[in-house]
């Protein structure tokens, strides 16, 4: 049984805003959400990169304590965007707890802030009476804390999938949610990803000399995907959630359909865990098209992973060229906010939905001079009024994981 799957609600917390209007305003006006990194007492002094895509505005959480007690910052973000899509879609309580609604939601590795606090207390000797890490701290920090807290807060009783594959966490969450509905296991899925402010992630990329360090005093000028002056990625934070529903179910309840998910692919490079792999990425893109049952020339827009690392962008541009030629517009949306890690796949899908709805394609920010080794594709150099009918959102992760999601504008 193969069923059609549609997106009926979307919400994101990003370094360029929370509401749809704020995010669109930043895209149209070329406003970056990358700021100087906040100083902390842990890693800040040791890092080369001093920039971060931070969520530096307040969020009016309205969660009861019985839910808050098992949540770290990463779960606050996740539950907030999940709450917003449930409200937006007007899902009824009897369906939410029917077992036909599931959750596919993840983060890179739970809550590093809670983990750090627990280990600091344990190893610094500041809490000598403790022989173990608190069970509550585990619930707040575990790798599936986002999905678990969403189910708990809303009483969701369907399946739980919690991807934790770094940069493909969000895209896998949407892809696996899509497959759960397509093959009849669930009628709807809340899908997405979330990651919190964390300098240990910066330290990892710093260590690989893959983080941006040349723009510490002009943070809005980095990252620079595909640009000749790019010098690495910028870590960011945020969350994104979409509600996926089976088409007939959505129609029957009068849902507002934003787009259809028509394809998803996920593969692995089968080797190196860090370096991008031209064959693996090319194959993932091609598999996405195959799953969607469309040809490459039907895709109008590609949301590139575009981390702004030296090698990653070149390999990605070659892979896009291999499959799509130079037909679709290509934008690296991380240029606006940095790499929001476990949430980037969801946030980039949501921004693509917004552009689809409002009929424009945002340019890659800071792409002033295209690196000639990345020049063989159709980069979005300026804001275009353009009707996106079919878009591909591609993401690649440490561990060699590659994904491609294909979404199509829905003709109501």
């Amino acid at each position: 049984m193969e069923r059609k799957v549609v997106i009926t609600a979307a919400s994101a917390i990003t370094p360029i805003g929370h509401s749809k209007n704020e995010i669109i305003d930043s895209l149209i006006n070329g406003i970056s959400g990358v700021k100087k990194m906040r100083e902390d007492d842990l890693l800040y002094p040791h890092l080369h990169s001093k920039v971060f895509g931070a969520v530096d505005y307040g969020i009016d959480y309205d969660f009861k304590r019985k839910y808050r007690k098992t949540m770290g910052p990463v779960a606050y973000y996740a539950c907030q965007v999940a709450k917003e899509v449930i409200e937006m879609a007007d899902l009824k309580n009897d369906f939410i707890s029917s077992g036909r609604l599931g959750v596919s939601f993840g983060s890179t590795h739970g809550s590093p802030i809670v983990q750090r606090q627990a280990f600091q207390a344990f190893f610094s000797g500041s809490r000598p009476g403790h022989s173990s890490i608190s069970g509550v701290d585990y619930l707040r920090s575990m790798s599936h804390t986002t999905a678990a807290n969403i189910t708990r807060m809303f009483g969701i009783t369907g399946r739980v999938i919690s991807s934790s594959t770094a940069c493909t966490t969000g895209s896998q969450s949407i892809g696996f949610g899509y497959e759960s509905i397509k093959y009849g296991k669930q009628d709807a899925m809340i899908c997405g990803g979330s990651d919190e402010y964390d300098t240990t992630t910066v330290a990892v990329f710093d260590n690989f000399l893959a983080s941006s360090a040349n723009f510490n005093n002009t943070p809005h000028l980095t990252p620079r995907p595909f640009d000749i002056s790019r010098d690495g990625l910028v870590v960011g934070e945020g969350a994104g959630a979409v509600l996926l529903e089976e088409l007939e179910f959505a129609k029957k309840r009068g849902a507002n359909i934003l787009a259809e998910v028509i394809g998803f692919s996920c593969n692995n490079n089968g080797g190196d865990l860090i370096l991008p792999n031209i064959n693996g990425i090319t194959q993932a893109i091609a598999l996405g098209l195959k799953d969607a049952g469309i040809s490459a020339d039907e895709v109008d827009f590609v949301s590139a992973h575009g981390t702004a690392t030296k090698m990653g962008d070149i390999i990605e541009a070659q892979a896009i060229r291999n499959v799509y030629g130079n037909s679709p517009y290509v934008t690296g949306l991380k240029s606006y906010m940095g790499h929001t890690m476990g949430s980037c796949g969801a946030i980039e899908t949501i921004i693509t939905l917004y552009m689809m709805e409002y009929g424009f394609i945002a340019p890659t920010l800071n792409l002033d001079e295209v690196d000639e080794r990345c020049a063989m594709i159709r980069h979005t150099m300026k804001l275009h009024k353009s009707d996106i009918r079919i878009a591909a959102i591609q993401n690649f992760a440490f561990g060699g994981v590659n994904t491609s999601l294909i979404i199509k504008k829905f003709d109501n």
Binding site: R65, K66, K69, R127, G129, H130, S134, V136
Partner: protein, 84 residues
């Protein structure tokens, strides 16, 4: 620590960490405030901090039958007595 001091500390913990305000000493915490196993784990951790002493497995097991604030105070009083 006197019984009165224990009560003050426990009420302070319940207010600050569990948002339980002005409870009755014999309220069933589970029924009235939805105090659950997650809260129980956290409360034991707070009691360890209060006593500046690690609880044994047996002591933690004993706490699982506690339902009211009076019983929490009895429990802490007993722990202190064992440690004096």
């Amino acid at each position: 620590m006197t019984r009165e001091e224990i009560q003050i500390e426990i009420l302070k913990i319940l207010k600050e960490e569990f948002e339980i305000e002005n409870p009755e000493m014999d309220d069933n915490l589970s029924e009235k405030y939805h105090f659950d196993s997650i809260d129980a784990i956290q409360l034991l951790s707070e009691i360890e901090d209060l006593l500046k002493s690690e609880l044994t497995m047996e002591e933690k097991t004993l706490a699982m039958d506690i339902r009211t604030i009076n019983q929490i105070c009895d429990y802490v009083e007993s722990l202190l007595k064992d440690r004096s």
